[in-house]
């Protein structure tokens, strides 16, 4: 696998940064890949725009910024509007069906959209796992990392108290992806 650049974008509180850290950790600690994760903050620290980038690669990563992502995940309208132009032609676009209206997509991309937020509320009664559903979906669609690595990474990062719930949400997201 050559370098793959992923950009995850949304607004504060949606958990996109945690998702990117899980991805990076899984890749670089358990999948024997290289990964670099960076993030930029909105104009104020509270509730603003969030954008995080992660590169996964088999070779050492020199340039750490994703100027033109291979994969763009946008789970807020503003995020989509702002970042869609950067997405590579032929890249993958993943959005939240309810929160993002992609309008007239002129770009040649593979677009998947799913109700991460709604499913989290409906199926888990816990809005906060929407990022895990999204993460499972992304992993299944892109095969960036292995399931085993993902599992270990969340075990490292999440407290045992919430591990099970989050793992279920990931599994759920993967299933969504494989059936959608």
């Amino acid at each position: 696998m050559s370098e793959i650049g992923v950009r995850l974008s949304g607004i504060g509180g949606q958990g996109v940064v945690l998702a990117s850290i899980i991805l990076g950790r899984a890749a670089s600690v358990y999948d024997n890949l290289y990964a670099v994760q960076t993030q930029t903050y909105g104009s104020d620290m509270r509730g603003g725009d969030v954008c995080t980038e992660i590169i996964v690669s088999e070779k050492e990563i020199v340039y750490p910024i994703v100027n033109t992502p291979d994969i763009l995940i946008a789970i807020a309208q503003k995020a989509f509007d702002q970042h869609i132009t950067d997405l590579k032609e032929g890249g993958i676009l993943i959005t939240d069906k309810d929160l993002v209206n992609v309008g007239n997509l002129t770009k040649n991309v593979n677009h998947y959209s799913e109700e991460f937020n709604k499913k989290a509320i409906d199926d888990f009664n816990e809005k906060r796992v929407s990022n895990m559903i999204m993460l499972g979906f992304v992993v299944e669609k892109t095969k960036l990392i292995t399931y085993e690595a993902l599992e270990k990474a969340i075990a490292d990062l999440l407290s045992p108290r919430i591990f099970d719930l989050n793992k279920k949400a990931i599994d759920f997201g993967m299933k969504l992806a494989s059936t959608n």
């Binding site: 600690v29 994760q37 993030q39 903050y41 990563i61 020199v62 340039y63 750490p64 910024i65 100027n67």
Partner: protein, 383 residues
């Protein structure tokens, strides 16, 4: 210094956390700091970790107190560190001067942010390069290392402690917001394989005129509480520590000895990463995170058959004058890439101008990492 082949642990860490863990591996037992974006995570982490390793963490009333605390602790015989960003460094300037003048080993981490003034706390900029060297009053030398990754934040923090101990001097780790917050794999070396430096200590009291300062070979340092009767002052002093504030000859000696203590050992201190320089016509000089954009550029340029190489000072200070001069004899052009308005450029030009062309190329938008294309364009122009 670090043998990365055998590691006891691999982690995926933020640069700031890697720095904190590096400090612990280096034997740091005292951290004093005041929160500031984008350096706060170092304090957060060490507020827990320091006590686990029998050390001390203190959040001081301000940055002036933070630097004062670590200098005080250093005279108590422990390795000490503070971490802040540009505004904090500005406040520390007076006591950084005291640390230099009293030859106190300590480590100062500056996770640079958008400046001047309060600026943009989370924007990546290399704006404090000259501030690290010239911010306090008077002539002095400082050591500063510029990391470009979490692994380097870990490694260079250890290196900073080693240099501080070897040369009895404050050492800067000059990171920035992007490196500090970036996450990447960090390999932890085995503690046993790590070579750590310890300060040359004064063993026994040697009389009122014992020589404990101003030795170009680094005078032994008395530690407090051991009956060594340390006589320390930030005023102009002689080798034995006694103050004399009227005789210019004594001041001349003090300034020159302090300076030479670093300059005489430049070769030991200075580390440079060269990449594809051997046959290069153009060398790109950069440091810190910017060097990763440069390396990417070199990769692309080489693919296009352009003979270009990267010259990266790990040690920003002392400035690698001789090394740059040597470089200037090997290439036709040096392009200096800095994420600022060209802070090191005059120093590079002054060192290199007799033998090659020197060009400054700040990024189109300060506070962003160069696009390799920007640099490539410039290379093509000058070739």
């Amino acid at each position: 210094m670090i043998n990365n082949s055998k590691t006891n642990k691999t982690d995926f860490l933020q640069g700031n956390i890697a720095c904190a863990e590096g400090a612990i591996m280096a034997g740091c037992k005292f951290f004093a700091g005041y929160p500031i974006t984008p350096a706060s995570e170092i304090a957060h982490h060490l507020s827990k970790r320091m006590f686990e390793v029998d050390g001390t963490f203190i959040q001081t009333e301000d940055e002036i107190a933070a630097i004062a605390n670590i200098v005080g602790a250093s005279w108590g015989g422990v390795k000490s560190m503070t971490a802040t960003s540009g505004p904090g460094i500005s406040l520390m300037q007076e006591n950084i001067g005291l640390a230099v003048a009293t030859e106190t080993p300590c480590v100062i981490v500056n996770v640079q942010r958008g400046a001047p003034s309060t600026g943009s706390p989370s924007v990546h900029l290399q704006g404090d390069i000259l501030q690290s060297k010239f911010g306090s009053q008077g002539d002095y030398q400082i050591i500063a290392l510029a990391p470009a990754s979490p692994q380097e934040m870990f490694d260079f923090t250890i290196k900073a402690f080693n240099l501080a101990e070897q040369f009895r001097t404050p050492v800067f780790v000059l990171s920035d917001s992007l490196v500090g917050h970036m996450r990447e794999r960090v390999n932890f070396p085995l503690q046993e394989e790590l070579i750590l430096s310890e300060r040359k200590k004064l063993e026994h009291y040697q009389g009122i005129h014992q020589k404990i300062f101003l030795d170009e070979e680094v005078a032994p340092m008395p530690v407090f509480g051991k009956g060594l009767k340390a006589n320390i002052t930030g005023s102009t002093h002689k080798e034995d520590g006694f103050r004399n504030v009227s005789d210019p000859k004594i001041m001349d000696n003090a300034i020159k000895k302090l300076t030479n203590k670093i300059l005489k050992h430049k070769e030991e201190i200075i580390e440079i990463n060269e990449h594809e320089i051997d046959d290069a016509e153009v060398a790109i000089l950069s440091y810190g995170l910017t060097s990763r954009a440069v390396l990417e550029t070199v990769k692309i340029a080489r693919k296009n058959g352009i003979k270009v190489g990267s010259f990266r000072p790990i040690t920003v200070w002392p400035f690698p004058e001789e090394e740059v001069e040597k470089l200037s004899r090997r290439v036709k052009t040096i392009i200096v890439c800095e994420n600022n308005l060209g802070q090191l450029f005059p120093f590079v030009k002054s060192a290199a101008c007799e033998h090659c062309k020197v060009i400054s190329l700040p990024p189109k938008v300060l506070g962003t990492l160069y696009y390799p294309e920007e640099i490539l364009e410039k290379i093509k122009e000058v070739i």
